[in-house]
Symmetry: C2
Subunit: 216 residues, 2 copies
């Protein structure tokens, strides 16, 4: 059949394959070999083949993978067939930047609403959306049928926002707060944290200095 059950490590790479395929398609490519796809998505050819074999056999031996068909298949598996509604909570610097960044639309999503607790911001228009107040959050979620949310509020408010979101039926949260959110088991949270990423890079820099003979 198709995707019986996809390993976590594979799932985490599917969005990157989709991105690489779309870019290659826009550049005019009709087929891509596992090696080319690996290069464009920063993995290895063996991983690409193993990963894509989870979705069924879409490649042609001696030729490669059909760019358009595989991109469509990946979009389907990822649940991106139609612009999925996402609610953005927090219209501060970061929230506004993300809304303007275009990452939502580029990724196949639709900003269904923008929410902020600060009354000075409520009513403004950001990325074509009138910012709505925190009190409206439950009603907005019901109205838009959104089950995905992005949180860019300060740490102190993040847990309370998450609780409200979960109570209103949200099951997937992308959080830019630095704290670890406590949510029910059926809710998926992914965290993005600038400081953590930089610190990890810092660690590897230091480690490489200590052992400079690695690439003898």
């Amino acid at each position: 059949m198709g995707e019986a059950s996809i390993p976590d490590a594979t799932a985490a790479r599917l969005p990157r394959y989709l991105q690489a395929l779309r870019r290659a398609g826009q550049a005019g490519a009709v087929t891509l070999s596992s090696d080319q796809l690996a290069r464009a998505s920063g993995t290895s050819a063996a991983k690409v083949r193993k990963d894509l074999s989870c979705l069924g056999s879409h490649g042609t031996r001696g030729v490669g993978y059909p760019v358009a068909a595989l991109a469509a298949e990946l979009a389907r598996v990822l649940g991106l067939d139609e612009g999925r509604p996402v609610v953005l909570v927090g219209a501060g610097n970061l929230g506004r930047a993300l809304a303007a960044y275009g990452g939502f639309e580029r990724g196949g999503f639709r900003v269904a609403a923008v929410i902020d607790a600060d009354e000075r911001i409520v009513g403004r228009t950001i990325a074509g959306h009138r910012v709505r107040s925190a009190e409206e959050l439950p009603a907005v979620l019901t109205g838009t049928a959104a089950t995905m949310a992005v949180i860019t509020v300060p740490d102190t408010a993040a847990q309370s926002v998450a609780d409200t979101l979960v109570a209103a039926g949200v099951t997937a949260i992308l959080s830019f707060a630095t704290i670890y959110l406590d949510v029910p088991e059926h809710v998926r949270v992914r965290r993005v944290d600038l400081a953590t990423e930089l610190q990890l890079l810092s660690f590897y820099e230091q480690a490489d200095e200590d052992v400079p003979a690695a690439a003898g």
Copy 2:
């Protein structure tokens, strides 16, 4: 001894431990058990103990880990002893938001310079830094001795910026571009991508819908 060689999976969790410890310390905690630390950093007690054992024995049986001493040790291992200089390339919406976000300082870093190619932005002051032109990049890197950089420029410019950074001695890059950067082996790149994160969340939502019997 100390950290003979730290596994990748462990290294990736060290920043989270540090964050949790600093927060607990500010809240007045003196010691933390592996279970408490696990809860605060979103992992498991077994992982915490295994991870921290890589750094040597810093815990006390029957008591837990000393918050202040362990935080200091982690900061040392991560190379955060003094505010490490980081160069921010790209002063658009996202770059400005990150600079204002406070993630650099909170993480133990210092913004050494802000760079942008847009002449309309050059000369403005962002987070206390006068934005400098792209031509100044090599000189700025030499002058600040920065080896870490954050890239928030458009995809089309990202590879060229990365090349310049690498040529000027940068060995760690945090990129918000969606493309995969091609860099020499000794350079570490970490990518943060809103669309990828959302797509992965979307996949798990869809998967959970298809198999709703998972949690009996």
